[in-house]
């Protein structure tokens, strides 16, 4: 039996809808992971120990266990505690928190690497430590880690395929559904791969633009 790609176009609408869901979940999770990463970095570095210690445990949990398991835990597990999240929300929380922890590691390192003179100059002007962190140190740290955070975001896009298992009809699940009807796994997985690659190119273009815009402020 040879390959027959002519079946793919008739599922174009379903696949494009899958693309939209993939983009939606990736962008939402990316935003959550970005701001969550900043927040977690600040907690990890400057939080009182009463918050910092449980946070460490939480970070270890997210870095040390499979993302797939975390998604199951959030989507199926939390129901037992009376928290019944829609699949999309559960997926965003799982992906967002998982990558927030990774982003937080990058941002922590970057915060510590900002020249000490920056904090001193800000404090000398009369800014409080918190104001100096918010206005001077953290913006520079975040600017410095845009490229590696960008890499994390591309990893996030690829890992967004995992939310297909909790029933978010994103690109991978859309392809699977089409395969279920046509029994053409190669054609649809290949089509999905091409579509992921195109989304990826778009993301890289956006990231490059952001990097270019921060060039002068170095």
């Amino acid at each position: 039996m040879g390959l027959d790609f002519s079946v793919v176009p008739s599922y174009a609408d379903a696949l494009l809808l899958g693309v939209l869901w993939t983009v939606a979940i990736t962008v939402t999770s990316a935003i959550l992971s970005f701001f969550g990463g900043i927040l977690f970095a600040v907690i990890a570095l400057y939080g009182p120990w009463l918050i910092r210690l449980p946070f460490r445990f939480f970070a270890w949990l997210f870095m040390g266990t499979p993302l797939l398991l975390q998604l199951f835990l959030i989507y199926f597990g939390l129901v037992e505690l009376g928290i019944d999240l829609p699949a999309f929300v559960a997926g965003v929380i799982g992906l967002g928190l998982h990558f927030a922890v990774y982003n937080s590691e990058l941002i922590q390192t970057a915060i510590l690497a900002v020249d000490k003179g920056q904090m001193e100059a800000a404090r000398t002007l009369g800014l409080s430590r918190t104001q100096a962190l918010m206005r001077v140190v953290i913006p520079q740290a975040v600017r410095d880690v845009i490229p590696p955070i960008g890499n994390n975001m591309i990893a996030l896009l690829k890992d967004s395929a995992l939310v297909s298992v909790i029933g978010v009809s994103e690109l991978t699940l859309s392809a699977q559904l089409a395969i279920g009807r046509t029994y053409r796994p190669f054609e649809f997985y290949a089509a999905a791969a091409v579509l992921y690659y195109i989304i990826n190119l778009g993301m890289e273009a956006v990231l490059r633009r952001i990097e270019r815009r921060t060039q002068l402020s170095r």
Binding site: D115, G117, Q118, E120, A121, A122, R123, T124, L125, G126, L127, S128, R129, Q131, R135, V136, P139, Q140, R143, T214, L216, S217, R218
Partner: protein, 260 residues
């Protein structure tokens, strides 16, 4: 007219890192409008003393009093933070390595603190930035980023940034040491201008010529103590202490060599 208390009054300033005593019971006063240079070999404690004035490097013991208010008050942490942030608004500081905020434009560098701490409007902030940058001769660079400026220009922006808070006192920590020789003069000119406007300034410097021509008083420090102080004409021409003589011999001979 003499005031009841000195404008800046440093009393029994002592600082130690473990066993290493870097400031040994220093007493120093500066009058309003006075321009004081602190000179001395590296490791003499001059920068440490300067940084103790705005409590950037807290003293182990002793008092720093500015215009009748103690800067390094003993207060519970939260109250102390409030107090010191308030005090620092009155004490401008310029660093050897400029420490401009690279992620902000020149305008934003100058206006960030006044906007945040004095709650001035955007229009007032723009006016303030224009004023201060015109003062240091960099109005045309107002919308540049620090990365687009030369070292001398960066330092002039740093001075404008400090002045935008309308400080009572300016501290200069080797403001020209990191600059290429040909850029030193433009920064010195700005500092001279401030001197003419009777800004009170304490200047840690290696530049003896500048200290001699601009400052009212020179303080020579070595080994954490003030060895000698007086008008530049006296300290540079007729030093009484051997350590001062030796230091000046080295430095002035270096000057003579580089001049040839």
């Amino acid at each position: 007219m003499t005031e009841k208390h000195p404008f800046v009054d440093i009393r029994h300033a002592q600082k130690a890192y473990g066993d290493l005593e870097v400031l040994k019971d220093i007493n120093l006063t500066v009058e309003r409008g006075e321009i004081v240079a602190i000179i001395g070999p590296s490791g003499s404690g001059k920068s440490t003393l300067l940084r103790a004035i705005n409590d950037l490097d807290p003293l182990s013991s002793g008092e720093v009093i500015l215009d009748g208010t103690q800067v390094n008050k003993t207060l519970p942490h939260r109250q102390y933070e409030k107090h010191i942030n308030q005090m620092r608004q009155h004490i401008g500081m310029v660093f050897q390595h400029f420490n401009l905020f690279p992620h902000l434009t020149v305008r934003e560098n100058v206006t960030m603190a006044p906007k945040l701490l004095k709650g001035i409007s955007a229009a007032e902030a723009d006016k303030l930035a224009e004023e201060q940058l015109a003062h240091v001769g960099l109005l045309e660079r107002i919308d540049y980023y620090p990365s687009q400026l030369s070292g001398g220009q960066k330092q002039r922006v740093a001075i404008a940034r400090a002045l935008a808070m309308k400080p009572k006192l300016m501290l200069f920590d080797e403001a020209t040491s990191a600059l290429d020789p040909e850029l030193v003069e433009e920064v010195n000119l700005v500092m001279k201008k401030l001197a003419e406007e009777h800004m009170t300034m304490i200047i840690v410097t290696h530049e003896m010529d500048f200290a001699a021509s601009v400052c009212d008083r020179v303080i020579f420090m070595d080994g954490g103590v003030v060895v000698e102080e007086g008008p530049p004409s006296v300290v540079f021409k007729n030093p009484t202490q051997d350590r001062t003589k030796e230091f000046l011999r080295k430095h002035l001979s270096q000057y003579a060599e580089s001049a040839n």
